[in-house]
């Protein structure tokens, strides 16, 4: 579903991501772990086409992001770490805008908005301007927007930050549903317990380079994910 090959991204003289390769198959929830400034967000932004990368290749569903970014973007959805959503729109208008861009028909979007807004208890707030939303509400709106067009790949940057326990639980269930339906999830997190319980595979990034990746059992061995992560961080 997502193939990252030798991805390199620099900002001036600083190399944020260095020769990173990953493969995420359909049905997989892939966790992406690293300390602050390790290059997680840069990788995710490069994968979804926000940042232009310097070298390497990103393929989504077999389509090259460089050659056909629009076709790739049609297959994916992205949720950033800080959901800065248009404050001049109401929640409903924003969801309709996203649905328009993805060409979701009227009946389907109505059903999905109702379904997900009810699930996240946001139905009563959809007529409010986004400027009146709390961080958590914006996060929920960004999640609903991401699920509007049933993407095959969902890329999320710290998706659980700001969500209440019920919404977090709900999101985990939805992530699993996507993968059960043949989609894939690629997300970054600092919460290692969540990664350990939720992910099929995990990758650890340090100073822009991948230091370990594979199935959860392969990465952690007999230790906990936290122990492995701290051990790798301690290594020079």
């Amino acid at each position: 579903m997502l193939r990252i090959e030798y991805l390199t991204k620099t900002f001036g003289k600083k190399t944020a991501v260095n020769d990173l390769s990953l493969h995420i198959a359909p049905g997989e929830i892939y966790g992406f772990i690293g300390h602050n400034g390790a290059g997680k967000t840069t990788t995710l932004k490069s994968v979804v086409g926000i940042l232009q990368f310097d070298a390497g290749e990103v393929k989504i569903g077999g389509v090259s992001l460089r050659q056909d970014p629009i076709a790739c973007k049609k297959m994916l959805a992205y949720i950033p770490d800080n959901p800065d959503i248009y404050e001049f729109m109401t929640g409903r208008r924003y969801l309709n805008f996203i649905a328009d861009v993805f060409g979701v028909d009227e009946k389907t979007r109505r059903d999905r908005i109702r379904e997900y807004a009810d699930r996240f208890e946001l139905a009563g707030d959809l007529e409010q301007p986004v400027s009146a939303y709390s961080h958590g509400m914006k996060q929920k709106l960004a999640i609903i927007a991401a699920w509007m067009h049933e993407p095959r790949l969902i890329v999320m940057d710290e998706p659980f930050v700001g969500l209440d326990p019920k919404a977090s639980h709900l999101l985990k269930g939805m992530m699993r549903e996507v993968c059960d339906g043949g989609g894939a999830i690629f997300f970054s997190t600092h919460v290692l317990e969540v990664a350990e319980k939720l992910c099929d595979k995990v990758a650890i990034i340090k100073q822009g380079s991948l230091v370990r990746s594979g199935s959860m059992d392969e990465v952690r061995g007999d230790d906990s994910l936290e122990e492995v992560f701290l051990e790798l961080e301690a290594e020079e």
Partner: protein, 532 residues
């Protein structure tokens, strides 16, 4: 504590003078001094000069008619009016929308201390605007009247009373604005409407000022008697300036009591208003809203939603709409007389009137520059469009379309109104309608290019971006620069060349610029946007 808070307030008010937000660093000493000198020149020199000339024009006449109190009443009320109008919205945002309200309320600071620090800044702002009117008033009076204890002391007391009245009214009105804005649905349009109304009233009085002053001086005694009889409080107010002790005592005591009352009311309701945001009322879902639009339509709707959500955006970048509509109506009502006069001024230029009208419409069209800040206004939300399956070209064309729609319609309206008055033959009429439309296209492309070349995505204050950006100033003045070139060309060629050939000559470079700009937007512009 109060001192600390006042210091913070002052640092906030004068931040722009000490700190360059675009370069993200403190200004040099020379730059700070230059900014303050500029500010003093504008306030004292330009505005103060205007009111000094007004005071000078009525002072002698009213003193001769033995109605010095009327002089003080008129200019005192003007000072109150300017002070209140200039500071009421600042009061609202300073008292109730201050970004540190939550922070300060969470600290162990009494609410009345927070209020006091805010009120001091309101007072100083009102004082500054009132001074612009009243300081020249006092100086002009002292130059005309004999200097005694009462003639010197009276105006000074009156100035102090005015400053307190301005503060009371500003605080009161600020509170009303805060209360209303909590319940208002279409805040943006109401703000734009009120501001435009204020501008219209201001210009109405500005153009009528000479007649009003002449009338006031000619009938000073009669007006004085009328006011004394029906509005005694205004008479008493004016008497303070003359040094009348009972008037001073009554007004000082009354303003002190009302001021304390306002402070008490403000402190009581401060927390409720300052911490309330948009009412978080749960509403029923409106499922009929789910209507499908194509990607270009959806992007265009998004641009319009952004535009109509911000009164600042509308007022600063779309004044051309109002001006073009007003120009069209003015031409229909008084066009024949005005155009006849212009024609008679320079009969050696046969095409003067249609060229002048064409240039005027283009100039007013250049007051619309909403495409310029539209790129920077994406700000932190830029990730949305960058991660969606839309091309940079689609996004940029939506911005372009918005400006074209909002400008071409009023341009066409003004042109048709002008054509009704001018009654040009068909070929000339076609050129007369086409050239402003071509200019509208050029202007939209040029404004968008400026937005792309000089983007600022890290802004914290939308107003600064819309009002003070270099690209906005360039967008406005470049348009006027083109008009200037047309005027120069006309004075060189206008005697020997008719309307159609002349407009064809000036349109050729415009058309070339349109083609070049269009190609630039499609190639380089889209690339710049993708890499933002």
């Amino acid at each position: 504590m109060l001192k600390t808070l006042i210091k913070k307030q002052f640092a906030e008010i004068f931040r722009t003078y000490f700190y360059d937000q675009r370069k993200n660093r403190a200004r040099s000493k020379g730059s700070v001094i230059a900014w303050f000198v500029f500010f003093i020149l504008i306030m004292g020199g330009v505005m103060g000069g205007l009111f000094a000339s007004l005071a000078a024009s009525i002072c002698g006449g009213l003193l001769a008619a033995n109605t010095a109190w009327l002089y003080f009443a008129v200019l005192g009320l003007l000072a109150v009016l300017l002070g209140v109008f200039a500071s009421v919205f600042n009061t609202y945002s300073g008292l109730y929308l201050a970004k540190d309200n939550d922070l300060l309320l969470s600290l162990p600071i009494p609410v009345r201390t927070i209020m006091a620090s805010r009120i001091v800044s309101v007072y100083l702002l009102g004082l500054m605007y009132a001074a612009v009117v009243f300081v020249p008033t006092m100086i002009v009076y002292w130059l005309h009247a004999p200097l005694t204890f009462f003639t010197v002391f009276g105006p000074l007391v009156m100035f102090a009373v005015i400053s307190v009245i301005v503060m009371i009214l500003s605080c009161g009105l600020g509170w009303v604005v805060a209360k209303i804005s909590l319940k208002l649905k279409n805040k943006s349009f109401v703000t734009v409407f009120v501001t435009l109304l204020f501008i219209a009233v201001y210009y109405f009085f500005y153009f009528k000022a000479t007649d009003l002053v002449r009338d006031l001086i000619a009938n000073a005694a009669e007006y004085g008697e009328k006011i004394r009889g029906s509005a005694y409080i205004v008479y008493l107010f004016g008497r303070i300036g003359e040094g009348d002790i009972p008037a001073m005592l009554i007004f000082t005591a009354a303003s002190a009591i009302v001021f304390l009352l306002v402070c008490w009311l403000l402190t009581r309701g401060f927390i409720d208003v300052a911490t309330a945001s948009v009412p978080a009322v749960k509403t029923r879902s409106r499922q009929k809203n789910e209507k499908r639009y194509s990607v270009p339509s959806s992007l265009l709707r998004r641009e319009f939603a952004r535009f109509t959500s911000s009164p600042n955006y509308m007022l600063n970048c779309a004044l051309g709409i109002i001006m073009l509509a007003a120009a069209g109506i003015l031409l229909l009502v008084k066009g024949t007389d005005i155009l006849e006069q212009i024609e008679n001024m320079m009969p050696e230029y046969p095409a003067l009137v249609p060229v002048l009208l064409c240039a005027l419409i283009c100039m007013l069209a250049s007051m619309n520059d909403m495409a310029t800040p539209s790129v920077s206004l994406e700000g932190r939300s830029l990730w949305i469009l960058q991660s969606l399956p839309v091309t940079a070209r689609q996004v940029l064309f939506a911005k372009l379309k918005m400006q074209l729609i909002l400008t071409a319609i009023p341009v066409l309206f003004a042109s048709v109104c002008a054509q009704i008055v001018l009654r040009l033959p068909v070929p000339e009429a076609i050129v007369f309608l086409a050239v402003p439309l071509l200019y509208t296209l050029f202007s939209a492309l040029y404004d968008l290019m400026l937005g792309l070349v000089m983007p600022n995505l890290t802004w914290t204050n939308e107003t600064v971006l819309i009002k003070q950006s270099g690209n906005i100033a360039l967008a406005l003045f470049s348009g006027w620069g083109y008009e200037l070139l047309v005027a120069v060309a006309f004075f060189i060629l206008g005697k020997s060349v008719g309307f159609v050939p002349f407009m064809t000559i000036v349109s050729v470079p415009l058309l070339a610029a349109v083609v070049l700009l269009y190609r630039w937007i499609c190639r380089k512009g889209t690339k710049i946007y993708q890499e933002l």
